[in-house]
Each structure stands twice: as C-alpha cells, then as structure tokens.
C-alpha cells in the first residue's frame, strides 16, 4: 500500500516515528568535508525530517550503524569480561537501493560465512529496519544497473520519494501502516523510483583468468594510488576490521577490546609476524580489492559483492575510477582467452 504526504506531514510522521525508533540517516554536515567550507553527506542519528538529506547521494554509506568505524566490544579486568552495552531501541536506517542490496553482502560475511555468527554484528543487525530512499536519477559515478542493485523489491519497511513538493511512500510493512494512515492525505499505489540506466556502465566477466594477477594493468596504481583507504571506508560492502586491545594506563589490569574498520589498501593490512607483508605495492592492493569485489566473492558465494554505488569513485582523491578498472579487467580477460 502506498501513501502521499506533504512535506509538513512527512515531518510530523518522522517526529512521531522517532518516539519509537531511532533514525539513522544521511545528513549534510556543513564544512565537515576534506576542504575548507566543503560539506560532506554522511550518516548520523536524526530526530527530525529536515535533518535528513534525501536528495544528494551520501559520501559515506549506511553500513556505519551495523558496522561502526570504531566500537568497543567488551571490557575486561582480571578474570572477568563484560560486553559493552548498546542502545536496544529499534532503528530505522535510510538508504538507497544500493545500500539495501549491500546488506545481503554484510550479512553473508558476518552471519553466514562459516559456523559462527558474529554476535556483535547480530545484536546491531537485529535492531535495523531499512527505509528506502528512491532514486529519481542516477548520480555521477553510479553503476548500479550493471551490478543489478538499482531496484529493491523488498528489504524495506517504507520508501521515500520527493516529487512536486510531496513525499510518496510505498509501505510494504503493515506495521507502519498506522503511522502513514494518520498523516497521509492520499492513499494510492506507489512504486519507489529507481534508475534504469547509468551513464557509467561496466561489464563484469565471470571468467577472470589466473594470469590477471601478473597483468600490467595494475602497475599504474602502484604510483597513482596513495593507499588512503577511502574507497574501503565508504564502501557499503567492505567488512574488514581489525582489533585493538587497549589497557587503560592508570591500571594495566583493566581494558577494552575495540573493533575498528580496516582497509586492504592501507599499510599494515597484510603485515604478518616476522615483518612480512604480502601486498607491498599499491597496485597489488588494488588488484586484491578489485578481484575480491568482482570475482573472488562471487566464486565463494555465487553473486557479486560490488553493488555499483560508485562511492569509491566519488571519494578517491586521486581520481581513480573503480568502474574503469572493472572494465579493464574484463577487457584483459577477453584478450587472455
């Protein structure tokens, strides 16, 4: 069932929802970008509709609630351990189709990749319901159509599309019907907007030959890439983390274990005992990342990891285009046949 709301009643709906749900949504942070007086759109807790950035694509992805960049998992002292507390209220996360598609990838790694489910992931994941932000147009570097993540058939409780001063919502979850019935002036079928074509197109090949490992196409990234890891930190499907065991300095017997985001592009990722480092060159790191996203993950799980959101291309300070690399790999694979 779908509803039409005015911007004002949508605002009332959001403040009503915020009584029962926390709301995690893209927010335009003024002047918080890399450069002076440049904004950044990233996720934060909000309590009113005005704060939600519904028009621009977020620079950072919605994964930051379920997999925070930095999270204390537990505290320890002597023989005791205590898990950290979290806010157990359910949370509505606003995301686009690519973000919702990325959830399957996150779940795959944390919940369905071996015997154990990650409890610290699960306790957050269980609180989350997604709100779909419709895409009325493709953004600069999006290639979701090629990655088949441009459209969401399920996985959201309601959708939000701005058009002609109104808010259009598809509400597949009946639990939210009462909220919408209360504020909507018009009930009708709504189909969330999605894009059917991106300017950027990639062709992903299923047959990447082993010889791609030593292909020269990676060489330029050894010098072009600055191994900052931005592409990983903004990626909605990157799941790598590392641990910090911290001992409080006033009392060395008390401390905490923190999980922090890790990047396969950043120094230290492949360091091993004895000083070894498996991928020293940035070109090698790029190869690992790209092949993981468009080949290795699929070999293991049967579908592509990359959702084509293009955030890696948006944020790369060196103008490296991930989508271009995908096409280069396909081309090189074809030539190798």
């Amino acid at each position: 069932m779908g509803y039409v709301l005015s911007r004002d009643t949508f605002a009332s709906l959001i403040s009503d929802l915020s009584q029962n749900y926390r709301i995690f949504a893209p927010v335009r942070k003024k002047g918080a970008g890399r450069f002076t007086d440049v904004d950044v759109v990233m996720y934060d807790n909000v309590s009113n509709a005005e704060a939600i950035e519904l028009e621009a694509k977020s620079d950072y992805s919605s994964k930051e609630f379920i997999t925070p960049l930095s999270e204390t998992l537990f505290y320890f002292t002597e023989n005791e351990v205590k898990e950290s507390d979290i806010d157990n209220r359910p949370i509505l996360v606003f995301g686009r189709s690519c973000d919702i598609h990325s959830l399957k990838r996150l779940d795959q790694i944390y919940l369905d990749n071996g015997l154990a489910k990650d409890p610290f992931y699960k306790r957050r994941r269980d609180l989350v319901k997604y709100v779909l932000i419709g895409c009325s147009h493709s953004f600069e570097n999006c290639f979701c159509v090629s990655m088949e993540s441009n459209k969401c058939d399920d996985g959201y409780v309601f959708s939000v599309d701005l058009a002609d001063g109104n808010v259009y919502s598809d509400v597949p979850d009946p639990a939210f019907d009462s909220y919408f019935a209360k504020y909507s002036k018009d009930k009708r079928d709504v189909v969330p907007k999605y894009v059917t074509e991106n300017e950027v197109k990639v062709s992903v090949t299923d047959s990447v030959p082993h010889s791609i490992i030593s292909h020269t196409l990676w060489d330029e990234y050894t010098t072009r890439c600055i191994n900052c890891g931005r592409c990983n930190y903004v990626c909605p499907t990157c799941t790598c983390y590392t641990m910090q065991d911290v001992f409080y300095t006033d009392n060395g017997k008390v401390g905490e274990r923190r999980r922090v985001g890790a990047s396969c592009m950043v120094d230290g990722y492949t360091d091993v005992a004895g000083g070894g480092q498996y991928r020293r060159k940035n070109g090698e790191r790029m190869r690992f990342k790209v092949l993981h996203k468009i080949s290795d993950f699929k070999k293991r799980f049967g579908y592509q990891m990359c959702v084509g959101c293009g955030r890696c291309d948006d944020i790369c300070p060196e103008y490296i285009s991930f989508s271009n690399i995908i096409n280069k790999v396909s081309q090189a694979s074809k030539e190798a046949e």
């Binding site: 890399r34 002076t36 950072y60 890891g229 911290v246």
Partner: protein, 328 residues
C-alpha cells in the same frame, strides 16, 4: 607639445611610476587579493596597446604595471582605468581621477580556500575586505594573506601577515587508527600527533592549525573547526637598513580583530612617523623600533576584543641583518 611641468609627488600618489625614461610613466593597477575579472584584464590590455608599448608588467605584489605611457597621457589613462577601479570596487573619492593613493600597497593573497586544498579560509575575500578597510591611504603599509602555514604568499615579508588556521576537531568514534594523519602531520607539517591506545592525541601547543590531518583523514574523524582562525605575524620587511621576517604575534586570532588592529595602526603611524621621513614614507617597523613595542601594542589593541582562543605574544623580538648598524 610644451615642456613637461609635472608634480612628481602627485603623480606618484596617483599610482603612476616615476620612470627612469624621461617623459614616460607607468600606470599601476591595484588588484586586491590578486583576483581580477577577465573584462578588466581586457581593459588593461587595451590601455597597454593604446597608451603603452603593448607590454604588461606583473608586479611583485600581485598588481599590474603598464609601462611606456607618456606623461601627457595620464589623464586619458585615468579615464580608462575607471572601469577597472569600479569593477574591482576600489575606494575612490572622485571618479575619473584614477587611484587616489599608492602608499598603502596592494593587498596580497594566495589563491586560498577558493582553489587550494590546503587553504583554511577565503583569502581573496578577506584581502578585499582589508583593502576596503584601509584604502585609500598614503601611509606605507604592506599586508598579505595566505591560506595556510605553507605561506605561499610569503606574508612574513609584510608589515601584517595573516596566515590561515583551522582548529582540528577529532571524533574518536570515527577513527580507525590508520595513522594517515600522524604520518602526514610528521611528513608535511610539525609532527603534533601521536597514537595513544589506538586513538590519536594532538599536542595542542605544537599544532600549528594547518589542517593537514583533516585533509588526509579518510573517515572524517578529523574535521575543520566551524570558526576560521588566523596567525597574525607582524613587522616583516625588506629594504636597505634592517630586512627581517615578520614574527608571530597572535595565534588563533579572529577576522574582526585583525581588521581593527590594522586600522588602528594608521592612527599610530600618524602620531609617531618621523616628520622628516623621506617622501613622508617610513616602514611601520622602524617606528615600532623607535617607540617600543609596548606603545605600539597600546594603539593596536584600542577597542579590540580578541576571542577566547587568542594567544598573544606579549613580547616580540625581531632578527634580521642590521646593515644600518653593522654594515654589509
């Protein structure tokens, strides 16, 4: 054409150069902040072709000098530069008469935050505001703006040098200890950051507010302060007697205070300038050397309310070579 009968003092104040070539002058175009629109640039070209020799000098202080103009053409040139004066919004008591003074030099600015990734503020806008604040004035004052501690505008050669600063804001919850900020602070800046228990600690005494940590942080754990801050360095100079670099005076200063302090300096100059100074021109620094820094500060701080973050060096000592005392 009759014999030339020119008031050279007036000519100079009208922003024309006294040229070594007899009968010739050069028109000096002010470009506050170093930004000129293409139409005005077109006018410069037109003047150079019409009255000059088709040559345009780019000056050391981001101005333009059009040489080879006949002294007899000055009035016509003044009529033509009006369009440029209007377009660059130069203060002028009487239209059509050219520039009203030249003592207070063109205000310099690096490209700043409009273009440069490291710029901590809009240098051009501040320079234009400063120009509006102090021009026209015959007193010899040099002011320069630079976006960050790189000091590409070489503001330490000026009487007042304004260096952009940002106060890095740290959100530890977004920090993944990738160490980009620590490494780049060390390599590109002063090494004010270290990793303690998986999070970054900033040495606030050492930090120069350059913003390198913010520029290199991949997660937005580091962001810029909402406020733009400035390091004010003062009384740098070139010249024959005692060339020297400007020294740090105020760290974390604010825009309004800087505008006010520079304005106050003019009253101080009127009070203490050497009445016998050649062409009534004396670098402020030499006046400060004579009156003592305490007296200068008294005038400077008149009506100024520095922000809570401002750190003032109450004593400032300058170095440089003293050719006037010890010879070359």
């Amino acid at each position: 054409m009759g014999k030339l009968d020119i008031n050279v003092g007036k000519l100079k104040k009208n922003a024309f150069r006294y040229s070594k070539v007899r009968g010739e002058t050069a028109s000096r175009i002010r470009i506050p902040g170093g930004v000129i629109d293409s139409k005005s640039m077109g006018k410069v070209i037109e003047i150079a072709e019409k009255y000059g020799t088709g040559v345009i000098n780019i000056t050391n202080r981001q101005g333009i000098e059009i040489p080879g103009i006949k002294l007899s053409d000055m009035e016509k040139v003044n009529a033509d530069v009006q369009e440029i004066i209007d377009s660059l919004r130069i203060n002028q008591p009487e239209k059509g008469k050219g520039y009203p003074s030249s003592g207070t030099r063109n205000v310099i600015a690096c490209p700043g935050a409009r273009l440069c990734p490291f710029g901590c503020y809009d240098t051009t806008a501040f320079a234009q505001k400063m120009e509006n604040n102090i021009y026209p004035n015959d007193r010899h004052v040099k002011i320069a703006f630079t976006g960050c501690s790189n000091d590409c505008a070489k503001v330490r050669m000026a009487d007042f040098g304004i260096i952009g600063m940002t106060e890095p804001q740290y959100n530890k919850d977004r920090c993944v200890a990738c160490k980009a900020c620590i490494n780049f602070c060390k390599r590109r800046s002063v090494g004010a950051l270290e990793l303690v228990n998986g999070k970054v600690v900033r040495d606030t005494d050492k930090c120069i507010g350059c913003g390198v940590c913010v520029a290199y942080c991949p997660t937005r754990a580091w962001t810029r302060s909402r406020e733009h801050y400035f390091r004010l360095v003062i009384m740098g100079r070139t010249g024959k007697k005692n060339p020297r670099l400007a020294e740090d005076f105020i760290k974390w200063a604010d825009e309004e205070s800087i505008l006010k302090m520079v304005k106050n300096t003019y009253a101080y100059i009127e009070e203490y300038i050497d009445p016998n100074a050649v062409e009534h021109k004396e670098h402020i620094g030499y006046i400060v050397d004579r009156t003592g820094f305490e007296e200068f500060k008294k005038w400077l701080f008149e009506g100024v309310n520095l922000g809570p973050k401002a750190e003032v060096n109450q004593r400032v000592y300058w170095g440089g070579r003293h050719y006037d005392k010890y010879g070359g």
